[in-house]
Amino acid sequence: MTATVSTTHQSSLERTKLIRASLTRRNMSEKIFRGLGLAAVVLALGFVALLFIDVGRKGIPAFTQSNLHLSVTFDPELIGVEPPPVQASGQSDADFQAADLKWQRSVAMLNWNKVVEASLRTLVPAGVEISSKDLLAIAETDARHEIRERFVADPSLMGKTIEMDVLASANAANWIKGNIDRSLPDSQQQLSAPARAVIDSMVASGAISNGFAWSILTNVDSRSAPASAGLLGAFVGTLYMMLIVIVLAVPIGVASAIYLEEFAPKSRLTDFIEVNINNLAAVPSIVFGLLGAAAFINYMHLPISAPIVGGLVLTLMTLPTIIIATRGALLGVSPALRQAALGMGASKTQMVFHHVLPVTFPSILTATILGVAHALGETAPLLLIGMKAFVASVPVTPFDQATALPVQIYLWQGNENRNFFEPRTAAAIIVLLLVMICLNGVAIYLRSRLEKRA
C-alpha cells in the first residue's frame, strides 16, 4: 500500500515537475509572441509617424506665401492703348463683341512688365543698381496678368495708382524662406546679388510679408508662374472621378453581389464568375489603365485626359472590391432572419430588400467608402489615360481635360525648380491625406450610427 502510494505520489510529483517545466516554456513562448506583436505595432506606428513628420516638416512651410505689396500706377505712357469700344446705337451685339475682343487682344499684347517694373523700382533702396531683368525676377510672372485683368475690368483706372498684392517669384520665395543655402556663391544662386539685396530690404521694410498660401488651394497648376501653382484643377478633377465611381460602382457592385449571392443558381457558370471576380480584385491597377486606354479612348472615342475616363477606369477597379465586400456581408446575415421572413410569407425579393439588405447596410457602406478612398489615391492607371498632362484650367464638366490630386503630386515632384516644388509636393500630399482622412472619418461615423440603429 505504502509502496503504491509512494509511487503514485512520486509519479504525480514527476508530472507536476513536467507540467511546471512546460509551463515556464509555454509562458515564455507567450511572452515572446506578445513581445513580437508589440514590436510589430511599434515599428508600424514608427514608420507612419516618420512619414507624417517628414511630410509635415517639408510641407507645412509651403502653406505660407510671400506677398509683395505694390502701388501700381497705370501710366498712360506705358499703357498706350485706345479706350475700350462702346456699343454704338446701330451696332449689332456680334459686332460689338468682336470689337471688344479685338480691344482685349490689344491690351493683352502690351508689355505689362514695364508697369510691374516701374512699381518695383519705387521699392528699390537708394544706392542699389539693379537691371530691369533682375528686378522683374523678384515678382512672379503672373503679376502682369493680374494687373492687366484689373485694367480690363476697369479701364477708368488709366492714370490712377492702386495698391495691390502680387506674389513674390518662386526664386524670391526660396531666398526668403531659406530653401536655398544663403551662403552659396553668386554663381550657384538663382537670383543675382542686387536682386537678393533688394528682396532683403523689402522684407525689412514690410513690402514683402508672409501670409497663408490660399493660392495652393484656389489656383490651378502653373508652370510660367510657379509661385502661383495650386491644386484646384486637380481637386475638381478628383472630385468628378470620385462622383463617377460612386454613381457607377456602388449600384452595379451591390446589385451584382445581391444577384450572385441571393438569386443566382449555384452552377459552374456562377462558380466561374466568382473565381473571376476574386481574381479581378487582385489585378494590378496599371492593367486597368491599359484596358481603359484601349476600351474607352481608342474604341469608344472618349476624350483623353478627361475625368470621365479616369472615373470609368477607377470604377472597373473598385467594382470587384465592392462585390466581394457586399457578398461577404450578405453571407454573414443569420439564416434565422431569412427563414423568419420567408416563413411569414415574404417573397424572396421582399426578404432580401426588406430584411437582409438593411442589416448589411453598414458594412456595405464602409466597404464602399474604403474602396472609393483607395481609388482616390490611385495614380498608375491615370498615367496611361493621359491624365498626367499639364492642365492650367479647372474642368467644367467631367469631359474636360483635368489632372487628379495624386497625379499632381507626381507632376510636382518632377518639376525642375526643385527648391520650390519639394515643399509644394509635400503640401499636396498633406491635402490628399486630409481628404482621405475625411473620407475614412465619414465611413467610421456612418458605420457607428447605422449600427446603433440596426
Partner: protein
Amino acid sequence: MKSALFASAAVIALAAFGTPVAFAQSRDTIQIAGSSTVLPFASIVAEEFGAAFPEFKTPVVGSGGTGGGLKQFCEGVGENTIDIANASRPMKDSEKEACTAAGVTDVREIQFGFDGIVFASASTGPDFALTPIQIYKAIAAQVPVDGKLVDNPYTKWSEIDASLPEQDIALAIPGSNHGTREVFEEKVVHVGCEEAGLPADAPEDACTTFRQDVVVEIAGDYTETLARLNSNPATVGVFGLSFYDQNKDTLKVATINGVVPSLESVAAGEYPVSRPLFFYVKGQHIGVIPGIEEYVQFFLSDAISGSGGSLEAAGLIPQPADKTAEVLAAFEAGAK
C-alpha cells in the same frame, strides 16, 4: 429603402443614356504631348496663350518623351488623338511611315529654338573638364586599345586621362525614349568614337554599345537623374541646360572641349552639344480644334520665343529671327 433603389436605378439610367449624348460634344482644347525637354516651354506658352486669347481655352500639355509623344501623334486623325507633338529631335522616317499609315498625312514641322545638353555632377564633388573621347572611353562597352577592341578596362576617370579627377566612373544617361539620348549619342559618343579610331573589323554598333555596370539609363525626367546623383554623388549625369540652370545650387557643370555651357555659348555655336527643338502640328486638325493656328503664331512670336522673350527666361536658346520667319511661312503655306 425603396426610394434609394429608385434613385440608384435612375442614376444608372442617367449614366447609360448620358454618355452617348456627350460623345457628340466636340473637343475645344488643344491637346499636346511629347518631349519632357520641350514640356516646360510648351506649358509656359500654353498658359500665356490662354491668358492672351480669351476666346480659346488653355491648351493641355502632356509629357511621355519625344518617342512617346510622336507615337500618340501618329495614332490617327480625330478628336481623341493629340494635335501637337513636342519633340527634341526631328521625326524619324519610321515615325513618318507610321503617321502616313494611320492617315496622318499633313504633318507640319516647327523648329522654335535650341537647347544645350550638359554633363553635371554634384556641386560638392571635383570639377570635370571633359572631351567627347573621354566620355566615349568611359561609357563604351568595348574600347580600342592598340588597334584591338577590348572590354572597357577603366574604372576611374583618372585612368582615362590624368587631368580628370580620381573618382569612380558612374554615368546617368537618358533612356532611349528620350530625344536627348539620340543627341547625346550623335554629338558626343559618335564624335568621341571616331576620334578614338575603331579597328576596321569592329561591329557596326560598337560605338553605341554601353557598359551596363557603370551606366544607368534613366527613363523618367531629369529629377530622376538628379535623385541618382544624390544617392551616388560620384555620378555624372546628362541634363538639359535649362534644368541645370534651375538647380545650380546642387549641380556643378562640366566643360566640353573647354567650353562652359551657357545660353551665350550655345547660341554662338561654341558649345558642341546642342540640338534644335521642335513641335509637330497635325494639319488635319487645323480648323477642327479651335486655336491651333493662333497657338503656332503665338509660340513663334518675338515676345515668346524671340530673344528676350518669356521662353528665353525659362532657358530656351532663341533661334535667329529669319529662321523663325521661314518656319512660320512654311507652316502657313502648308495651310492652303
